[in-house]
């Protein structure tokens, strides 16, 4: 359903796009002196009570571990929401803020900062480059990662084929894992997390760059029936990647994305293999088997449709009804004839 004209609202409006922390830009371009100037100014401001409390609570449970102590030391500055610098070439304000709660919840929440960043980051001012090596997921993760049911190199190969990797657009320059997956807050969707939140969180990553899609004059998704309902229930990548059982990193160009309703609304729906597979697992874990059976939502319209079978069945049903009706009329006529003959006798 489209929004009424004059009040353009999208269901995704309530989704706050994650703040893209341009930490990679910082690692390559931030002049240490500029950083120093801003940091000195900001450190002179007393920490807000909430930030101080969050830093304290972040370190509370593992305060004795060296990694936690190191994180606390870094977060003393980086937990401040106002920590930022102005990028000298573009003039943009680049945030250096790291949300301590998001970091604690992330898959990297138990790491020490210097596990990834340069050793020399222990000192201040920090060096110009954040890490000693090419810094992406493959740089640390290996194919023997037991927590991941698939191959990291496979993910990398998918990404290398994606529009984000092959595009010659200046906007796609330096695109890497961290452009979407902020290492300071990334965590995979967890069982128990409501599906709408998963969808909103995933889509917010895409919309952090592609925000113009939400502008009312943009018609790129106008072809989609019940567009807003689709946007609330389906992740961008469910349509904008080739069908796959796991999340696919081969993001397709807009013109390559298939506008095929039957891709989902069919007997072999890709949604069931991807998003709804997770949804079923999540609901079984949360509600139990019986409740999952009662409130199952994994039926995608069209899954059971077969035009040939439907047509054939309706024809057979129609013929059967005609045959039975003819049989009944015959019986009635015989009965009436018998009654008449008995009456005459």
């Amino acid at each position: 359903m489209n929004a009424p004209s004059g009040h353009p609202r999208s269901p995704l409006d309530h989704v706050r796009a994650p703040r893209r922390v341009e930490w990679r830009a910082l690692t390559n371009r931030a002049p240490p002196l500029a950083l120093l100037a801003i940091l000195l100014c900001l450190c002179a401001i007393p920490l807000p009570a909430s930030v101080a409390a969050s830093i304290a609570s972040e370190g509370a449970d593992t305060a004795h571990s060296p990694a936690a102590a190191e994180r606390q030391a870094c977060l003393r500055c980086h937990a401040m929401p106002t920590l930022a610098y102005r990028e000298p070439t573009t003039g943009d304000i680049v945030s250096l803020h790291i949300d301590p709660h998001a970091l604690a919840d992330s898959v990297h929440g138990q790491l020490a900062c210097l596990d990834c960043h340069r050793r020399s980051y222990r000192r201040y001012p920090h060096p110009e480059r954040a890490a000693p090596r090419e810094f992406d997921c493959i740089g640390c993760h290996r194919d023997d990662d037991a927590d991941l049911g698939r191959q990291w190199l496979g993910i990398d190969a998918e990404f290398q084929r994606s529009v984000h990797a092959v595009s010659t657009s200046p906007r796609a320059a330096n695109f890497d894992c961290h452009t979407c997956h902020d290492p300071h807050r990334f965590r995979p969707a967890a069982v128990g997390e409501p599906l709408t939140e998963i969808v909103a969180r995933h889509n917010a990553v895409c919309l952090s760059c592609h925000r113009r899609l939400l502008e009312p004059q943009r018609r790129s998704h106008a072809w989609l029936p019940n567009r807003d309902a689709h946007w609330q229930a389906v992740r961008c990548i469910d349509c904008h990647t080739p069908p796959a059982r796991e999340a696919n990193h081969e993001v397709l160009a807009a013109e390559q994305t298939e506008r095929n309703c039957v891709g989902c609304h069919s007997s072999d729906p890709r949604l069931l293999a991807g998003l709804y597979r997770f949804r079923s697992e999540e609901e079984i874990a949360r509600r139990g088997l019986l409740a999952q059976a009662l409130f199952n939502e994994a039926y995608v319209i069209g899954m059971s449709r077969s035009p040939l079978l439907d047509r054939l069945s309706l024809i057979i049903l129609g013929l059967l009804i005609l045959a039975l009706a003819a049989h009944g009329i015959g019986r009635y006529l015989v009965h009436r004839a018998g009654r008449d003959s008995r009456g005459r006798a």
């Binding site: 999952q292 059976a293 059971s304 057979i316």
Partner: protein, 213 residues
Amino acid sequence: MTTLYLYPLWVRVWHWLNAILFLVLIASGVSLHYAGTTWLMPFATARILHNVAGILLTLGWIGFVIANARTANGRHYRIRPRTLIGDLIAQTRYYLHGIFRGEPHPFHVEPERKFNALQQLSYLGVMYGLMPLLILSGWGFLFAVYLPPTLFGLGSVWVVALTHVAVSYLLVLFLVTHLYIITTGETVFANLRAMLTGWHRADSSSTSRSESS
């Protein structure tokens, strides 16, 4: 005129519960299958109705199988191979020809045998063939996440979906035929009344033993 007590209370309760569930499942199933058509029930309503009715139908079927195994009702489902072919031919000939000639019914209801050969085969096929397939494929839908990627070399969801729909259509054909065939008793409503009261009324000459008259 004699009467036989053919349908004990549990059979009648089960039968009418099944009938209601069949109607609910057909209405909700058609609404899911042809979702988007204006005169059908809303998708969300159909979804929950179909799930609940399907689970109740499963429980009912399990109860029926257990009760049939543990009570005397099961004897009506045992085929008599020696007379089966002859009985089938006679029954089919009666429905296609004899019924229009006023011929007597070739099958006589007895306490030991309440189904004619055609009834027996169709009920056996429905209760022990189609119903398990319907129930299994329905639960396959509910827990599609646990299905293997392929079944018999085909996408498992596709196999489950098509099985469920094809069996559903066959059961609708059975239901329509059943509704017509019950009108072919002594009178148009005699069999319907029997399934409501439990008592089957028959011509005394066609009944070997009577319990009351």
